[in-house]
Every structure is written in structure tokens, then in C-alpha cells.
Symmetry: C2
Subunit: 350 residues, 2 copies
């Protein structure tokens, strides 16, 4: 053996350098490197330079995981986000707004899709907890969220979005589903409709139930016999909605206006109306806005939600909790908005 290979010499080709490598190269102690990397005071400018030079030369980068292991508070600067699907436009807008609000604090976002699977919800929560996220933002799917009570009582910041959790008292940010749906009902009534149908999503989904309740109650307040309102529930995709709409529209004494409680259902209703050439004769209002709604023939009136506001508010609440806010849990309601575009303003035809 001729040369003793220094144990802390960086092999630039493969091994990732650590603080020791930087310290050795700069000729300082490892704690000094730590101080420089974390912008802590108490390092002379000369030393600082040397450390910075060394770390650049080695292309060194701080290991956050190792750091947060030791650091008091143990923050990882990452949070977990659980959505119905990251590919769902409503969800991904929330995701985007959250990301923007959290990026300012250097917080990274783990995102995952639930696909309506309660087991997956639990598994993903566990996976994120194992990675020691600083907080969780989730759309609840499972029948109850009580399984996170242990974590929640350990002060894990948690904000539910779109739907309120069951079996646990935690913050939530939701759309005013009932109010929005009622607004649609009132709109139809104001335009002279009395035969109004409701096309709804699966009733095990809280938002779907709320929208139905708000809609029907408003009709009731106006004096309509709510028991005679044609209601089709359990529609979870375009095709089932299309068939349900076709059935309603071809029955005897068909409705003159249709409210659809969700995007895919709206699309299905639109297809049915188009097939029957009724698009310009039967009124339609959909819950949730969508791209190109204004380019349809006729343009589609909707109750628009504000995903960007939901996301921003959820981020704010989460950050507040992370910063130690101990307020009692609350549900925050983001108002929806009726956007008139034409389809909702069609009057009943004689």
C-alpha cells in the first residue's frame, strides 16, 4: 500500500459529500460548516468564505432529513395532500393554490390520489406520517376520520377540504354547497320554471347530499311539492348521467329545467339535451364551472366553486396551526357564485 486514502476525501464521481468533507476541505470544524449553511451568526467573514468555497467546490448540499432529525421542533418542511385525484381539474386547482401559498415558506407538497378508496386514504395518511410531514390537507373519503385522532391529538396540523370530516373535530374548508344549489333553484324559479329535475351524485358523498338538500329545500320554500320533484341520485359518471337525463326528458310531462350537481353529471345532461335537440329549450345549470362552458351552444350557466380560494384558505389555516394556533377547530365556508351564460336563463317553453 502506497497511499493512505483519506476517509473523508470526497470521491466526486459517486459519493455525496457530507459536512465532514466540507469541513475537512475548508479546514474548520463541522459545527462551523453547519453554522454557515444555516446562516447562523457567530462566524467570521473569512471563515464563512472558506466554507462556502469548499461547499461549492464539492457541490455540497445540506441533508434536510438528517437536520430535522436533530433539530428541535423536527420540522421537515413538507406536507401531505390527499385529493380525489390529482388529475381532477377541481382538485388540481386546489393543489396549485396550496402549493403557491406554501412555497413562500419553502414547504414541499406530497400529493396523492384517493380514487374513492377508504383503504387508500388510511394507507396514504400512514405513508405521509411515516415521512413525518408537518401537516396534512385531505379530502375525506372514508366513512370516518377517527383513525387520525391519535395524530391529531399529538398536534399534527390537519385541514380537511371540500368535505367535512366525520368522527373528529378538525378544521375544514368547504364550498357552500347547499347555498349554491339553492341559488340555482331560485334562479330557475325566477325564470318561471316549476317542473325542475335534479341529477345528483352518489349520496354517500357529503357534498352531494348537501347540494341536493339545498336545492330541494329552496323549491320547498317556494311552495313546490318537493316530493314530486324528479330526483335521480347515484350518478357518478357521464354515461349514467346521460341515461338518467334521457329518461327524464322522454318521460311524460318532462322537466323544463335541469340542475346537475357535478361536472361529469353536467356533461352527461348536456349530451342528452343535444341528442334530443333540446339544448335551447330546456334550462340547465351545473354545479362547478368547467373550461369552455362559455363556448357551448348555448353557453352553460353554472354555480362556480372557487378552488383557488379553497386552496389558499386551507394553506393559511394549515400554516397557522403549524405556527401553533390553538383555536378550536372550525369549518370555513367559501361562497360559490352563479355565473349566467345562457343555458340557465332559458324560460319554460309552452
Amino acid at each position: 500500500m502506497t497511499t493512505m486514502s483519506n476517509r473523508y476525501q470526497a470521491d466526486p464521481a459517486k459519493n455525496r459529500p457530507t459536512m465532514r468533507h466540507v469541513a475537512a476541505l475548508a479546514g474548520v470544524g463541522i459545527k462551523t460548516v453547519s453554522r454557515v449553511m444555516n446562516d447562523e451568526p457567530g462566524v467570521s467573514e473569512a471563515t464563512r468564505r472558506r466554507v462556502l468555497d469548499a461547499s461549492q467546490q464539492l457541490n455540497y448540499q445540506l441533508d434536510m432529513a438528517a437536520g430535522s432529525l436533530r433539530r428541535t421542533g423536527r420540522q421537515t418542511l413538507s406536507i401531505g395532500l390527499l385529493l380525489p385525484s390529482v388529475a381532477n381539474p377541481f382538485s388540481s386547482e386546489i393543489h396549485r393554490a396550496l402549493e403557491d401559498a406554501l412555497a413562500a415558506r419553502g414547504i414541499a407538497v406530497f400529493a396523492a390520489s384517493l380514487d374513492d378508496d377508504p383503504e387508500r386514504e388510511k394507507a396514504l395518511v400512514a405513508a405521509f406520517l411515516g415521512r413525518r410531514v408537518d401537516g396534512l390537507v385531505l379530502t375525506p373519503i372514508a366513512r370516518s376520520q377517527s383513525y387520525v385522532i391519535p395524530e391529531h391529538s399529538r398536534d399534527l396540523p390537519m385541514v380537511f377540504i371540500d368535505r367535512e370530516p366525520v368522527g373528529i373535530d378538525a378544521d375544514a374548508v368547504v364550498t357552500d354547497n347547499a347555498v349554491g344549489a339553492a341559488r340555482a333553484a331560485a334562479h330557475f324559479l325566477a325564470h318561471g320554471h316549476t317542473k325542475i329535475a335534479f341529477l345528483g351524485d352518489r349520496t354517500d358523498i357529503q357534498t352531494a347530499r348537501e347540494r341536493r338538500r339545498g336545492f330541494i329545500e329552496e323549491l320547498g320554500r317556494a311552495g313546490l311539492a318537493t316530493s314530486t320533484v324528479p330526483v335521480r341520485d347515484g350518478l357518478h359518471d357521464e354515461e349514467s348521467a346521460r341515461l338518467a337525463a334521457l329518461e327524464l326528458l322522454t318521460a311524460e310531462d318532462p322537466p323544463t329545467a335541469i340542475f346537475s350537481s357535478q361536472n361529469l353529471v353536467t356533461f352527461g345532461a348536456m349530451r342528452a339535451l343535444k341528442e334530443l335537440a333540446l339544448s335551447k329549450r330546456v334550462a340547465l345549470i351545473g354545479f362547478d364551472d368547467f373550461t369552455l362552458a362559455d363556448m357551448m351552444e348555448p353557453a352553460v350557466t353554472v354555480i362556480a366553486q372557487h378552488p383557488e380560494r379553497i386552496g389558499r384558505l386551507a394553506a393559511e389555516r394549515l400554516l397557522a396551526r403549524i405556527d401553533g394556533d390553538k383555536q378550536p377547530a372550525r369549518t370555513y365556508v367559501v361562497p360559490s357564485e352563479l355565473i349566467q351564460r345562457g343555458s340557465g336563463e332559458i324560460r319554460p317553453q309552452s
Copy 2:
């Protein structure tokens, strides 16, 4: 003092339990707990039970970060994904496909949006590296990706999507942009068009250049004087595209067919056509499919990309690299597909 408080006694209310707490409660050594939690052999069934019981009682959960710190290989089971925007439908479908392919291996995905900002690209890559992700999937924005060469040569798995990287030799998964655009050109030619306009995105984007090249070259092959083809570049949003289309369509000797190289541009073109009541007289093909394209009047013919295939393939390549695949870097091309819906089949009007 009456009672000595055990240092490792869990305060279930606040402190997260560690292996020591579990070990103490189960009356075993900490390494035994580790063995049980990791399903390692060499633990008797009786001990196993005791440990499992204790860990359930304390609601213990393994700390992956601490584990991977010591573990050989140091995998964190998380990867970083950089997209133009998580709210962009094309991007979020890729995201979803990636997630599905990686979830099977228990890999979590950090997702972030770039917003066409090269600085953000570098910052986010650094942020993910600091979290020691096992790999990176990214849409390159910056003029060059050479800044990741140090990491790449340390064998950090990396796959570029949608666009090929510049200044570094790494895997990429892209759409056959030129071929797809050429297919649109051929389609127009086959339907008798000779006055064909091109509406393009910013030319600093590789995919935009490729689409233009493919389109123009195909027209050239058919004998058209390519220098006379009306080309409008630099369109990055709906409004600029709408204005460009209006200008083209109201000029002297207007085109009888329009190709738009991107979704927002397609929307802008659709609006212009509608305003001029030319939707059914001027042919239109858009690059990239979109929701409700088949519900438009007329339905819109598109060159569809396959984001789900791009995502799946990117995940496959990333996993292969993570598993040690040392093949030379390659670019994988996912074919696009022409979907005829009506707008692209309109023949030139006399």
C-alpha cells in the same frame, strides 16, 4: 417526590413514541422492535406479538427519515416531479399516471409547478435534492439543464418529460411532436386545402418548434411554397391566439384551414372562428386533446397526446434507473394520434 417518571414512558397526549418507548413497553431491546417493524426474520412469534401489541398501544409509527439515514442505500422512497403547472390538465394526467406506477412500490411523489421560470426550476430541484429524493422527473424550462450534471453523475435517477433536456445526456420521454403536426398537415392536404395557417406557441419552447417544423416540412413535401404559409408564433394564451386568428381570417385571401399547436391557442382560434361565424367553413385541427372537444359545434379534430402513457413510461424508466439500470441515456417517443371529429374534415369553401 413520590413517583419517578420513566423517561421512556410515552406521554400519549403529545410526544410521538419512538422505538425505545415500544421496546420499553414490550420489555425487549430496541433492535428487536426494529426487526419486527421491518419484517426481518429471527424473532419468535411470542416476542413479535408483544412488540406488535406495544406498538399498537402507543400508536407507534416508524420514522422513515431516521431509518433511511442509517440504512444502506439510503433510499427515501420519494421522488420529485416538476411540471409546468400541477393545474395544467396535460401535466396532471402525467402526474396521475406516474403516481399510479410508483405507488405500487410505495414511492411518494413531491409535485411542484415551474410556471416557465428557469430560476424556479433550479430552486425546486435543489429543494428536492435537499430532501434526498430517490429520483427526479422533470419538464425542463431553463435554457440548459447542465446544472444537474453533478447530481446526475452521482447516479441520481432522472427522467425528463415532454421536452428533451439541453446540455446533459439523460433519459427523456416525449410526444412525437413533429410527426403529429405533420399528420395534421397531411390531413388538411388530403381534404383539398392549400391555404393553411399555423398558429404557434413561443418558439423558445422545444415542443413548439418541433410542431412547427413538422407541420411546415410536410407542407413543403407536398409542394407548397413553405415561405408563403401564414405563420403566427409566440402565442402563449387564449387572447393572443384569438387576435392572431382574427387577423389572419379577416386579411385578404384568408386561409381555409388552421392548425393550432397547443390547447390555449386552439381555444383562441375557436373563439375567433365563432365570432366570424366561420366555425363550419374553416377547418381546424388542434394539437393536444381536451375535454368536451366532441361537444363543440363542430366537434374539434385534434392531434391527441397520451399523457398517461408518457407518465407510465417515465415511471418505468425511473424505476429501472433506481434499480441500477446503466443503459446509455435514451429518448423515448410516445406517438400521438389524429382524432377526427369534424372540424378537421371541413373542405375548402369556394
